[in-house]
Amino acid sequence: MQKIMREQLIEKAASLLNNGTVTAVLGWGKGEFDYDVTPAVFKTEEELKAGFVWNDFCGANFSKYLVKKTDRLEGKLLVFLKPCDTYSFNQLLTEHRFDREKVYAIGVPCNGMADIAKIKAVSGEGISAVDTNGEKIAVTTIYDDAPVMIDPADVLAERCINCKSKKHVAYDELLGEEGDVIDSARFDEVARLEAMSADERFAFWQNELSRCIRCNACRDACPACTCEKCVFDNPASGVENKSPANSFEEQLFHVIRAYHVAGRCTDCGECSRVCPQNIPLHLLNRKFIKDINEFYGEYQAGETVGSRAPLVNYTTEDIEPGEVFDRRDK
């Protein structure tokens, strides 16, 4: 259950549309079922009332959409941002990827989003309705007349279990109350991997990445991946590939991507959310974030606009590369 109700968001969006502050609204659009929402642009109050959704399945991070959706837009685009989305929003502004003047950002408090796979593990297939407006999530299936009642905490998405912040770091207007940065346990799993022997860790990643089908959804959803032309989409690059030619190459793709977004990744978790094969890709990025924190002091990408990330900012206090090398054996 979310603190702010759908009707409040529609009312707010409609008033901003009607008074001319914005010309369009980027929101979550109704799907076939209650959980399959699609990012959509709404232009009128009627469209909002008919198709705007705000429930526990509005996980999609809209920050990256702003790059393309504001490109040829007349006037301003209203965007709703959850706390984690605002970090990506700032990071993209830092990288000059969209025009801040074309956006009207509204911060929306978030109680965490549900993972439909976890819900199905409890309810089974054949869902005909999911209601997330109550204290418990009510799931009705075609196989049973009575709904299955599920505690939202039991079906939270991984990234929401390990939520790093309920605080919005960017907005023009905030609905509801502001939250706090959370001292989360998000690095615990990374620490568990670090504690493994090199062979164990290699086996872990080999097993996880062996499921990769190279659909590139992780890259395409990633707010840190906004290159106009990805090197992996360029046949002239010599590294373009559409399929797992062999497992070694496949693992390099994910490792290279993790390096490319290191220091810029805000840990929004979109990569793992969209992976059709449930590969815990966020762990690669979190490893970099953990290392950056340990080597250079606490740093959260996207916390502010224009911050110089440790990896692109030389100081005489910087760690010697040799120390990183030595750490390998520890």
């Binding site: 699609t38 054949g126 395409d220 030619a245």
Partner: protein, 342 residues
């Protein structure tokens, strides 16, 4: 019809595996299922469907076609093809079984694709009837009978037994090998299950999805429909829908430089990708809207136009479950088909 006790299912698998490689759905650590080779100790998954379809076993995501070895100024051409051995794919759902008919029309037509055809020749498909379909299932829209799948052998799983019916010569040969492990039986239990599943299929949320607005000859009506803008607006351009799809058949041929030669292989391609069918003059679909439209026009209009009205979708629901932004063929059909398709 023959049957065996569910307790004896591993003996059946062992018997099949004596003479042929056996692939069947197996649960993976992440909770999903995938077709894996059976060996002693492997448990058959009860999942409704695998993430990737069994298409992979006949048309692998990556497949070597040939190789070249260079030495000085000479190039040796190496045939990398291996004799395909007999194999059995067990537990293929009705939707996925139908996908092979769609793929056959592409690959086993002059000029025959020998890589695919050889696997189709050697592979035996044991289809499994559905009993608990998902809300994402819409195979009935394409005339597929989930409760009575085709395949070389049809199988039904009840509480305590597994029932078999051979449909083809290959299927009969397989059942002959299983003679000692199975017994002749009546069809009452299977008929009861079929009736029950048929009733469930009618209750599915997408049961009434209508294909009437689509098919051959609809290009002019649909190609410039204004709805494509909105439908494709949030598409990320990833290849998820294509790569989990049992009927997507497009591939690219690429050369892998080994240092002293080349391995020429093919790999699945996706019409959602920006470099899809790039030619000397450049690319013919420059926007994601055009790429998105291509995928659905191919499945709902172009393919049926060239294949006696057969749609190139089997309603397995994988794209509904896996698209990162939950845009899919059902939403496209409802939007473009108007009220008639609701």
């Amino acid at each position: 019809m023959r049957k065996c006790s569910l307790n004896a299912v591993n003996e059946v698998f062992a018997e099949i595996a004596k003479a042929a490689k056996l692939y069947l759905p197996v649960d993976q650590a992440d909770g999903s299922a995938a077709f894996k080779e059976w060996e002693n100790g492997v448990t058959w998954s009860s999942a409704l469907n695998t993430v990737k379809s069994p298409k992979d076993l006949f048309f692998p995501q990556t497949e070597d076609l040939m190789a070249f070895k260079t030495e000085g100024k000479s190039i040796e051409v190496i045939d990398t093809r291996r004799e395909v051995e007999d194999f059995v794919v067990f537990g293929v759902r009705a939707c996925d079984v139908k996908s092979f008919e769609i793929l056959d029309r592409v690959f086993i037509k002059e000029p025959v694709d020998s890589y695919y055809a050889s696997k189709r020749e050697k592979g035996v498909i044991v289809a499994l009837a559905c009993t608990k379909p998902s809300e994402t299932c819409f195979c009935t829209a394409f005339g597929i009978c989930a409760e009575e799948p085709c395949g070389d052998v049809s199988a039904w799983k009840t509480e305590d037994a597994l029932y078999f019916r051979a449909n083809t010569e290959k299927g009969e040969a397989l059942m002959k090998r299983l003679e000692a492990l199975t017994e002749e039986c009546g069809e009452d239990a299977v008929n009861a299950q079929k009736e029950k599943t048929a009733q469930i299929m009618k209750k599915l949320p997408l049961a009434k999805l209508d294909t009437g607005a689509f098919g051959g000859g609809k290009t002019e009506q649909l190609f410039n429909a204004p709805e494509w803008d909105e439908l494709s607006s949030a598409c990320l351009g990833c290849g998820t829908c294509t790569f989990v799809c049992p009927t997507c058949q497009c591939y690219d041929i690429k050369d892998f430089n080994t240092g002293n030669g080349v391995i020429r292989y093919r790999c699945w391609d996706s019409c959602m990708y920006s470099e899809f069918t790039k030619m000397a003059h450049g690319n013919n679909r420059l926007t994601q809207k055009e790429r998105f439209r291509q995928r659905f026009m191919h499945k709902l209009v172009y393919y049926p136009e060239n294949n006696d009205g057969l749609f190139s979708c089997v309603g397995c629901g994988r794209c509904l479950a896996k698209c990162p932004i939950s845009m899919n063929i059902v939403k496209v059909m409802k939007k473009l088909g108007g009220k008639d398709s609701e």
